[in-house]
Assembly symmetry: C2
Homo-oligomer: 514 residues x 2
Amino acid sequence: MTETTTPRLRTGGRAGRQAARASHHIARVPFLTRSLAPFEVLNEEGLATIEHNADTILEQVGLEFRGDPDALRLLADAGADVQGERVRFPRGMCRQIVQATAPRVFTQYARNEANSVQIGGTATVFAPNYGSPFVRDLDNGRRYGTIEDFRNFVKLAYASPHLHHSGGTVCEPVDVPVNKRHLDMVYSHIRYSDKPFMGSVTAPERARDTVEMARITFGADYLEDHAVILSLINANSPLVWDATMLGAARAYAEANQATLLTPFILAGAMAPVTAAAVCAQTLAEALGGMTFVQLVRPGAPVVLGSFASSMSMQSGAPTFGTPEPALVLYAMAALARRLGVPFRSGGNLCASKIPDAQAAYESAATFGPTILAGVNFVLHAAGWLEGGLAVGYEKFVMDADQCGMAAVFVNGIDMSENGQAVDAIVENGPGQHFLGTAHTLANFETAFYRSEIADNNSFEQWQEDGSLDAAQRANAIWKRMLRDYEAPPLDEGIDEALQEFIAKRKASMPDSEV
Amino acid sequence: MTETTTPRLRTGGRAGRQAARASHHIARVPFLTRSLAPFEVLNEEGLATIEHNADTILEQVGLEFRGDPDALRLLADAGADVQGERVRFPRGMCRQIVQATAPRVFTQYARNEANSVQIGGTATVFAPNYGSPFVRDLDNGRRYGTIEDFRNFVKLAYASPHLHHSGGTVCEPVDVPVNKRHLDMVYSHIRYSDKPFMGSVTAPERARDTVEMARITFGADYLEDHAVILSLINANSPLVWDATMLGAARAYAEANQATLLTPFILAGAMAPVTAAAVCAQTLAEALGGMTFVQLVRPGAPVVLGSFASSMSMQSGAPTFGTPEPALVLYAMAALARRLGVPFRSGGNLCASKIPDAQAAYESAATFGPTILAGVNFVLHAAGWLEGGLAVGYEKFVMDADQCGMAAVFVNGIDMSENGQAVDAIVENGPGQHFLGTAHTLANFETAFYRSEIADNNSFEQWQEDGSLDAAQRANAIWKRMLRDYEAPPLDEGIDEALQEFIAKRKASMPDSEV
């Protein structure tokens, strides 16, 4: 029998019919728990060298903490050498401060506690795309995002069994003034989902608004010892933390809420082009940011973030799906483990403008490493297109499907007696198919991940069904998900209080586009 | 700075301009040499359990060796319990025979020795798609393959720097009678490429024709101690080796040529649905096949093959890109390493009918594990569509691009001083971009893998260029490759002798479609 003259089995026989009758539900889990050891690309010596280099960077050139005199005072008091806005750290200082108080693992609580997620350790949490000004779907193409799009993506993430988190700025709702849109975004996460969410970081007062809305939702005291907001604090690489990000980070840390401290590095522009250099600089910048947060409030949850992309030498544009950032991802995951803090990276990243083969190859080239490196918090797990400039409806459901596959993969191989199934093989004998055996019948329904999007039919059947591509099938799926969406219950009193808060805040300031 | 408001850099500055002027050549290597330890999904205990189960299968139920009395005699003489065509092996017998004489690593020689490949150890060799009756391209859609298509794919594999091997039945040339097409196929590999190739296995005499053509090309004596043919011998799972495959394997082994002994398992049909069971059965079947080859000619190169797919419970069709076969792949790679033989698996497999996002996600879900598991010989590395029923021209160049990325990835992180680039970071300082720094200028040209297919331009530029998808760009690439193709030199005397041999063989038998 050659590999390709294998006849397609058009019917699964008794087992197939039986399975087709049953509906298939893989138990939804609030986050993945990996059972496999992470893949390593550097040995102990290589990792120690990068740590040494990060310390050299922190010691010799240091970081700038811009526009935030309080931050400079805090860092100087802790032992850093502060000259103007330049902060140099004695070797080992940052590591010591972070390791002394930052939790290795923490829980981000959702308003539905069944959806609370563990951040760190062997947990992996999938959150949707973040920050795109544009949205795309097959019907209307590419256009600016609106608050309606925003709500749609919140609903899709809520409805998807494969996403664990509602995310943050899933798209920019550009039809709402910049200085007010955070209120509508945070409200949407609370109102249309009961999964955990992210807060605003575009200004310290918007971070404080986010905290206030969380207090209304969860109770003010609750936040003191429960992280319910996780927010993205990006470095302004190379080697700069700016006032906006420091202010937002401070607002969250003061409320004991969690932050992702993430150097965003387009290698060649914000760092040297080589992977080892990107790693050392990322580690240095993240250590500086996490140190600041721990000084603001010791014990406030922090996540070491890494976002690294390669670039096109023709245009200077970010490129995705290349092997170099994958190597950075693996190394950074190992460095976060050694430091003892949760790690954020990865996602389904691509440069493609549309959900085509380029988008999928590129996304998989980041998402594979995301899973095998053991990333704890995966932003951009679904929807990302065009280097993040757009979030796609079809791409969202395609990527969510990949998240579902990862949930199976991380469980590894079932080595139970049932998994080994030696008797089933021995009893069946040579040349007899397994379609109707007792073992197959007992295991068929949950044996294999079933993609909603993939078409596995015969060529003829596929043609008869309209010769659709994956994006066209995904188009039908997100529409069905929105049609079937039902909002989770929300206490009316809380809802009113939130709306009142939003109305008051909106009334307190004129519209502004900054 | 948020991750998505990062302005696209439209120009790479000095570095970009300089790099754009230079042409970029990554040195072509005849095969990949991996520097990273393979990813493991089972621990020592799990792997030992599967080995034990394989022995249980071989001992208790055994394998059938059908229609080949010589094989039965050989196996009985070596200590197997032979009842009719059923052959049961005492525990450990197969392992002992294989480990005693099968090489851990061998070289498959190409007629251009610069293209000879190492099979086994840390080497990975990419070979194209195998066995599809249909071909597909954007211009003409799906149609039966012809000898012209076959030649085209040989030329494309020859022209691609990312493929190391010319493969075998890259497509079925259905315009040539079945009993004669092997002659045209083998001739095409020799005439239009100088990379290593695979032989015919559809009948023992066709295998002998392949050997004869190799003797004409390389010299008869040369074959005695040089493997120049590598051929695909598939088990008829479950637990059967049939006369055709045994006969072909014998023909190659007698000539000291290499074989891939590959159980082809659609889990649920040819084996139980569980990964651990698929692994044990695959190992048992492959051990039986390799034992037979070692008995025919001790020391003849063999490769342990594994081809496992999941299936759709709706239709019974094979499914690809699911997590379960990836787990099988990782485990089988580890089992082959423990046995001490080279391993064949993986590829860019998919069920999609067209080179869309489904094709790419699915392909990547097999190809990623292929690389991280350390597969030695990767059949179907480029072109596979539709569960192997079709090979696509566009898919071929897309997949080859992924092979190129893997070549970079397997080198791991450059930890040289230049790779670490600490000084470049320290000297550059906070807030200064790296586009024009000395380190960037010195490294830019080789810093990042450059895909020929990916479009990384701005949305506006992409629109201006016609809003093409990846398949449309790939279409232009394969056409250009065929247009630019130049045949490698072939000694005229050898060419004449080959043509004479083919003419004589064709004249010796009437056309037949079996």
